[in-house]
């Protein structure tokens, strides 16, 4: 009898028990500490006769029925994972509606030092001064009208033969840049909102929010319905990072614009880009959100994400560190920016309350099921981290329609964990879905590689925390904050940041900040 190579387990705050999950059967179990520890220490290995005997017949029978113990070889398990992943991938391609985005302009009114886009682009140099025109928007919408059905992108690239879904597709059109909501884009954004609204589609925008007040007349339910806005800390720190020509102090005006957006019925997704220099501000900014009344608003959501360092390799922290900070704050203060704990929370919820197989989708992002990003230079991209880099475009568009270049879009739609060697052997394959394709390419030179980004470090802990919180609510017992905090490792396997000696302010990390190797 072998321990499955897809076992996931972690101790619970109550040290007598471990949480146990299986990476492809979707089983979730609470087991005695000795069982959880034995399985994790022997993941992928054969159990000895003594170990099997010590588990006892009933336990062995239970663990076998759930997939934790198996008679399959490692290769047979991998084949099973690939078959499951392929089936989910094919279903994703067949029933995912195409995603659409517009880049109204590449120029930006800010010059944030960590931005992954170049400041030459933001200044409008080298041909980046183009603004989307009504003619280009009309052409893009004629493509949207033809390709918005579920599975349309896969049919276009010959990757599915599934029939079009007859149900009407509503969906959202997202604006990105540069800065999509600035004085120079007012007219064209209003035009996009109008055309989208006529088709029953809503519009969202990823914006810095500095000039959001110019767009109040197109905001609200059914129109510009959601904005993602960034605040990188409280006023002093934010104003040292989110600056630009003509905008030296942006915190107060962005805050006022968030107030107005919520009042207009536009949802606000507040984003905090976190590195070692502002991690200590997460708590203060959270308190500011609470005092401002935003956290009581149904249309308000706040999430923190790590600065990924496409242009800067300095002061970075990993998702594991950020997740430790956000989950600890939530336990202490009752509310915090969401970090990367959502996959664990949703997995627990799906297992305990959901119907059917808990792994519903396998695409990591919309680019892997079909995302068309129309820019102001008549180019089309699949990934917003590629926009503006012509060598990365997937095609062009004009009055005759969409012209794809070679097999580029097909490559995007062909990425899934079953197509990546290391992912097909990973217990987290169906949960993490191989991570971001663009980050994988930056790291490995190909998108057909994994972008783990410390997921293995933090997922088991967040799984234990998510289950513990669920169980505490279920049984009406208080959570043990100290025991929850103790679940985090004393020192993770790999480095956390590349800037030794940097303090994270008053945030006491549970492990040292180490130098990137």
């Amino acid at each position: 009898m072998r321990v499955s190579g897809y076992v996931i387990s972690h101790s619970l705050p109550d040290p007598r028990f471990w949480i146990l999950a299986h990476g492809y059967t979707g089983a979730l179990d609470k087991v005695p500490e000795s069982v959880g520890r034995l399985l994790m220490e022997n993941r992928g290995k054969d159990l000895t006769a003594t170990q099997t005997r010590e588990l006892g017949d009933r336990t062995v029978e239970h663990l076998t029925a759930r997939g934790y113990l198996t008679r399959m070889s490692a290769e047979a398990e991998r084949d099973a994972l690939i078959e499951i992943a392929t089936t989910l991938h094919e279903a994703d391609l067949a029933d995912s509606p195409t995603g659409f985005m517009f880049i109204p302009a590449y120029t930006c009114n800010l010059r944030c030092p960590y931005c992954f886009q170049s400041h030459d682009m933001h200044a409008g140099r080298d041909g980046y001064d183009a603004i989307l025109t009504p003619e280009l928007v009309d052409r893009a919408f004629s493509i949207i009208d033809r390709l918005h059905d579920a599975g349309a992108a896969a049919r276009l690239t010959g990757l599915t033969e599934a029939a079009p879904d007859p149900r009407p597709s509503s969906g959202d059109i997202c604006l990105f840049g540069g800065e999509p909501l600035a004085s120079g884009t007012r007219t064209i954004v209003a035009y996009i909102v109008e055309l989208a609204s006529r088709r029953g589609k809503t519009v969202s925008a990823i914006t810095n929010g500095v000039e959001l007040d110019l767009f109040f007349d197109v905001m609200g339910p059914g129109r510009l319905e959601e904005v993602q806005i960034t605040l990188d800390g409280t006023a002093g720190l934010h104003d040292s990072r989110r600056i630009g020509p003509g905008f030296r102090h942006t915190f107060d005006r962005i805050s006022a614009n968030i107030d107005a957006a919520l009042a207009l019925g536009t949802r606000v997704n507040l984003r905090m880009n976190v590195d070692a220099t502002n991690a200590a501000e997460i708590e203060d900014l959270g308190e500011y959100c609470r005092l401002r009344g935003w956290t009581d608003h149904a249309g308000f959501f706040a999430g923190a994400a790590v600065v990924t360092g496409e242009t800067t390799r300095k002061n970075l922290i990993t998702p594991a560190t950020l997740t430790w900070i956000t989950t600890s704050l939530k336990d202490r203060a009752g509310w915090s920016f969401a970090g990367y704990e959502r996959p664990a929370r949703e997995f627990v919820k799906q297992c305990l309350e959901g119907e059917g197989y808990p792994f519903k989708r396998i695409a990591n992002c919309a680019a892997e099921t079909g995302l068309l990003i129309f820019d102001a230079r008549a180019d089309v991209y699949s990934c917003w981290e590629d926009v503006g880099v012509r060598s990365r475009r997937i095609g062009t568009y004009d009055e005759t329609g969409l012209h794809l270049e070679g097999q580029v879009m097909r490559r995007w739609l062909s990425r899934f964990p079953g197509a990546i060697e290391e992912c097909s052997r990973c217990p987290y394959a169906l949960i993490h879905s191989s991570g971001c394709a663009k980050h994988a390419e930056n790291e490995h030179g190909t998108m057909f590689a994994s972008a783990c980004e410390s997921f293995q470090q933090y997922f088991p802990t967040t799984l234990a925390l998510a289950y513990d919180a669920y169980e505490a609510t279920l049984l009406g017992r208080p959570i043990d904050r100290q025991a929850r905090s103790d679940l985090w490792p004393a020192e993770p396997e790999s480095s956390m940041a590349d800037n030794p000696g940097r303090s994270l302010g008053k945030v006491a990390l549970p492990w040292p900040v180490l130098k990137r190797t």
Binding site: R16, F17, L20, Y24, T25, G26, A27, L28, D29, K30, V31, P32, V35, R53, G56, D57, R58, T59, H62, L63, R66, G67, A80, E83, I84, T87, L88, E90, A91, D95, S96, P97, A150, R167, P168, S170, G171, D172, F301, K349, Q350, C351, L352, E353, G354, E355, G356, Y357, P358, F359, K360, R361, Y467, E471, L474, L475
Partner: protein
């Protein structure tokens, strides 16, 4: 060959608790049933009377996966979700209480 004493379960052994039911996935591998097992009730497939016209825009019934990504209850309508949740939570509470008693 195992002796008879090796099949005896220690009386004080704490048994694992299954927190969810799993589908017959392994039995369906390499059969046409696999797709049916895996992809039923996916986001985007309105179920349990959802007409996609709800004010939650998918927040409760899963009819709009883009909007519902934050805090969707699940893939069923709210009344059905509440009924399922009550039933499942009752079973779970009982199982956990047994485990607590054993541990």
């Amino acid at each position: 060959m195992a002796g008879p004493e090796e099949n005896v379960e220690p009386a004080d052994r704490v048994q694992p608790v299954a927190l969810n039911e799993i589908t017959n996935l392994l039995g369906a591998l390499r059969t046409p049933l696999l797709r049916e097992v895996l992809v039923q009730l996916r986001p985007g497939n309105p179920v349990a009377g959802c007409d996609s016209e709800c004010i939650c825009r998918g927040g409760m019934c899963g009819c709009n996966a883009i909007v519902s990504s934050y805090e969707k209850f699940d893939l069923v309508s709210l009344p059905e979700y509440q009924r399922l949740r009550e039933e499942r939570i009752k079973e779970l509470r009982e199982a956990l209480s047994r485990l607590e008693g054993d541990g």
